[in-house]
């Protein structure tokens, strides 16, 4: 079965500190990996994706993500958190030649001023 795990329901970080939101996956083959952000009463917005190549990918709003094949992880990172980064974050995977995306249950990030 395909699955995506976000082990932390809630992450709190002080403004200006680095942040990490964790994601691990269990999907056959070499999947494509995505991060999305959701603000209140809005749909999910695409942040970044990993397809192949460099294990560190950069995305929107200063976010980046580190792919680790041996640990089947794709953690979202940002060097310096902003209060405006407070939101719900979702990790998603898609199998090669598959039509479906599989989402984690989401991590609520709160950046404390």
């Amino acid at each position: 079965a395909q699955s995506v795990a976000q082990p932390e329901d809630q992450v709190n970080v002080a403004e200006g500190n680095p942040l990490t939101v964790k994601c691990t996956y269990s999907v056959s083959g070499n999947p494509y990996l995505f991060w999305y952000v959701q603000y209140p009463n809005r749909g999910l917005q695409f942040l970044l994706k990993y397809i192949t190549g460099d294990n560190l990918v950069k995305g929107s709003y200063g976010f980046e993500a580190e792919f680790n094949k041996s640990q089947t992880s794709f953690h979202l990172k940002k060097p310096s958190a902003l209060v405006s980064d407070s939101a719900l974050y979702f990790c998603a995977v898609r199998r090669p030649r598959g039509n479906q995306f599989y989402f984690g249950t989401g991590t609520s990030l709160t950046v404390i001023p």
Binding site: R42, L44, K49, F101
Partner: protein
Amino acid sequence: DAGITQSPRHKVTETGTPVTLRCHQTENHRYMYWYRQDPGHGLRLIHYSYGVKDTDKGEVSDGYSVSRSKTEDFLLTLESATSSQTSVYFCAISEAGENQPQHFGDGTRLSIL
């Protein structure tokens, strides 16, 4: 933002009534998806479409049907709504190509009393 419009944005209805939600896109993307979002479950796929009149079931398709008669419109129907279908429903679109991300509408909040 991708041109995705969901209607209605809010709806309250009674158990046993039929309900149709509409997703309209102006991007001419091939793939369209319907998800429901519930606390503790993240996003769960209901149905998706990979072309006009081409649809397939997701993980929570029971009690739902879909239709896609035009590229731009994807309808989700609850034939006889139940309280367990109270949720926030999101439409998403993506281009052909398995490494393409999804883009989401702003959701429909559906309450079934």
